[in-house]
């Protein structure tokens, strides 16, 4: 479909083509895509604007840790505000709009604010707008702030179901560590619930070519079958959002776009957090530019959606752990320039990210 898709890769169903719109433009993606992966596959780089300066922003992570790609999404005459594009699964006919940008994220008139950026230094609003009166400025500032618009429509059936449940051991996170912990606890006779916020168990395992001699899919399916045979329960698309008094864990189970999520009160005696790791942003000038992604994000987009975020990339990290992840991207056809932040060769890139992005499609980083 596009040069960003890699054949045979990903958990998407290529037989089901879905059409959607972003900022009025028509695109296609596949069943199993998220809005973010479909946009990346279509080569869309600018998906949002920063809150204050309206600098262009692109997708930079693949899941809940994405800070930029926030859309108002309409489907079946139902509009939900501030949907995270990386966790919103694509459906036929979705209409996504960037927030706080006009007329579009690509061409945002409010980007004019960025030209005067030295004026808007941190906390500038405490230092001015006092004379003659704050009330003169406040309405304009309120209109400039905020992300998505909330539709005044009330959806009568948008009411959450509630479930009350209990278990001996709650495992949060269905990656390798969570699966292993859940299986061990279930084998020991515990009543175990394993929750994961993705559609399927596996976590980062899809980035691996094999797990204990199996494909990741087969290994996960085998573990899940054994776990469930031992009495374990699996909740996918479920996020644990808080541990409250007496080890009650709040769970929110996604019921699909436009439907109110289900709320679980899970009472436990043991909680195992196996939530994995996320890349932290590396600090360098202009690290917020579209085209700068986390290395983990780039690998997830390849593993889950068959999307190669760029053809030529700089991979920047401050430790050796980036090597394997970079090798996976290279094997999928990405031409990679490796840079270690501990290395003086960093200067090869020039002083700004713009220089790097002029030479390469993307810049991925890994930082612990």
């Amino acid at each position: 479909m596009s040069s960003h898709r890699i054949e045979q890769k990903g958990r998407i169903d290529r037989s089901q083509v879905l059409t959607f719109r972003f900022d009025g433009q028509r695109y296609t993606g596949f069943e199993g895509d998220t809005l973010a992966s479909a946009l990346l596959a279509n080569g869309v780089r600018v998906v949002a604007r920063s809150f204050k300066y309206h600098r262009p922003r692109g997708v930079c992570n693949a899941w809940f840790d994405e800070p930029n790609a926030i859309f108002n999404v309409t489907l079946r005459a139902r509009e939900l505000p501030n949907c995270l594009a990386t966790t919103t699964y694509l459906e036929e006919g979705m209409e996504a709009r960037s927030v706080n940008a006009w007329p579009s994220a690509q061409n945002d008139l409010k980007a004019v604010l960025d030209f005067a950026h030295p004026m808007w230094s941190a906390g500038f609003y405490y230092k001015t707008f006092m004379w003659p009166n704050w009330h003169l400025f406040e309405p304009m500032i309120r209109r400039l702030a905020g992300l998505g618009k909330v539709s005044p429509d009330h959806y009568d059936d948008y009411v959450s179901n509630q479930r009350f449940a209990h278990c001996d051991t709650l495992v949060v996170g269905g990656g390798a560590a969570g699966i292993a912990a859940a299986c061990a606890a279930a084998d020991a006779g515990d009543d175990v619930v394993l929750v994961d916020d993705h559609r399927e168990l596996g976590g980062g395992l899809f980035q691996q070519s094999e797990v204990e001699g199996h494909t990741p899919e087969d290994w996960i399916a085998g573990q899940r079958a054994a776990f469930e045979a031992a009495g374990g329960r699996v909740l996918v698309q479920t996020t644990a959002f808080g541990v409250f008094d007496h080890k009650m864990v709040g769970l929110v189970q996604n019921a699909g776009f436009g439907r109110a999520p289900r709320l679980w009160r899970m009472r436990t005696t043991r909680i195992i957090l196996a939530t994995g790791a996320v890349d932290r942003l590396m600090t360098f000038a202009n690290n917020d530019r579209p085209g700068v992604l986390s290395l983990l994000g780039a690998n997830e987009f390849l593993a889950r959606y068959g999307v190669l975020v760029g053809r030529e990339a700089v991979v920047l990290s401050n430790n050796s752990a980036g090597n394997q992840a970079a090798a996976v991207l290279a094997a999928a056809g990405m031409s990679i320039e490796r840079v270690d932040a501990r290395d003086a060769n960093l200067k090869v890139l020039g002083s700004t990210v713009e220089n790097a992005l002029r030479l390469f499609d993307v810049l991925c980083f890994r930082y612990y």
Binding site: P118, T128, M130, W134, V150, D245
Partner: protein, 416 residues
Amino acid sequence: MKRYSAFRLIREAATGNQGWVPAWRTPTPKSHYDAIVIGGGGHGLATAFYLAKNHAISDVAVIEKGWLGGGNTGRNTTAIRSNYFYPESAALYDFSVKLYEGLSKTLNYNVMFSQRGMLMLTHSEPDMEMATRQFNAMRINGIDAELLTAKQVQKIEPMLNFRSDARHPIHGGVLQPRGGTGRHDAVAWGYARAASALGVDIIQNCEVQSFITEAGRCVGVETSLGPIRANVLGASVAGHSSVLAELAGFELPIISYTLQAFVSEPIKPVLNSVVLAPAFGTYASQSDKGGLVCGGGLDRVPSYAQRGNFPVQETVLSGLSEMFPALNKVKLLRHWGGIVDVTPDSSPIIGPSGVDGLFINCGWGTGGFKAIPAGGYLQAHLMATGSHHELSKPFDLSRFVSGHLIDEAASSGIPH
């Protein structure tokens, strides 16, 4: 103090923003001050500022165990109002509102006092009668108030639930137009900066461990940074007033509870005022950044736990979605708790503590933020002159002995 202004912003922008200096100094504590203020929240910092500004006492230390405004000043829902019932309360809280009205210019720091109106809904004819009573009391006390029909309420807040099947239909409301919200952190930072510029020493990460008493008089404190002495001391330590009182050797008629608050993801403007629905016990406003800020009643059980819990979260947020059904698709961003000190009559305590040389300013319950300028002003008066200002006299601790209570819980129906 280099003044803040639009002109200064432009000049700094042109010269690379190199000329800014920290808003307040970070001195090492001296061994003796004229006055010590315990607690670096809004009330404490305001006390120090007014000591220096109104009474020319600038040899002052503000001692804070954590960071400035890290207690209830940074945890409240920023509502400012004076819609109280009794003349004593009305005078006190309206004095505060008036100080807030000029505060940005007084401090040269934009505290963003936004007088968007404080709107209390009514849901029935008896509700409306009680609202009329409150409205009349406010007008008699010289406070701005308007009695509204349902239609007038709808004009202010069109997102409210006016459907025929609403669980608690809206009958009308009382509005205090001069009420509204302020930028809570800016209040602490603004007072800190202005006080520091007048010579006040602001000392953070310095915990009071005990009081130094000589011949029955409090003359200083032992702190985690060593002993600090002073001629007079004042304490504004909301949430821990009775803990501090115990250290100093006196008792307060205070019970402490957790009060929770919530903020949503930022959305474009939908709320125009601060709306309180007594039927749900929920109130909400929208911050300038776009987040819906909401809260409700106290936790039921006394506690010093500065954290939220699930049952209250559910109560408050289900109330919010009953009030504004269209807002139930908005996601919650943060949820937290603070500790409030509640007195038997829901009115504050300002005055001598009973230990010579130590004054207290506490017991503001859920409403301390709105009273920061007044609390600081009156506490400074007490510490500087040794006697009450007219406005603080009725709020002396002795009222619990004499029985002259100012029972705002019973009169204006505040939920504690």
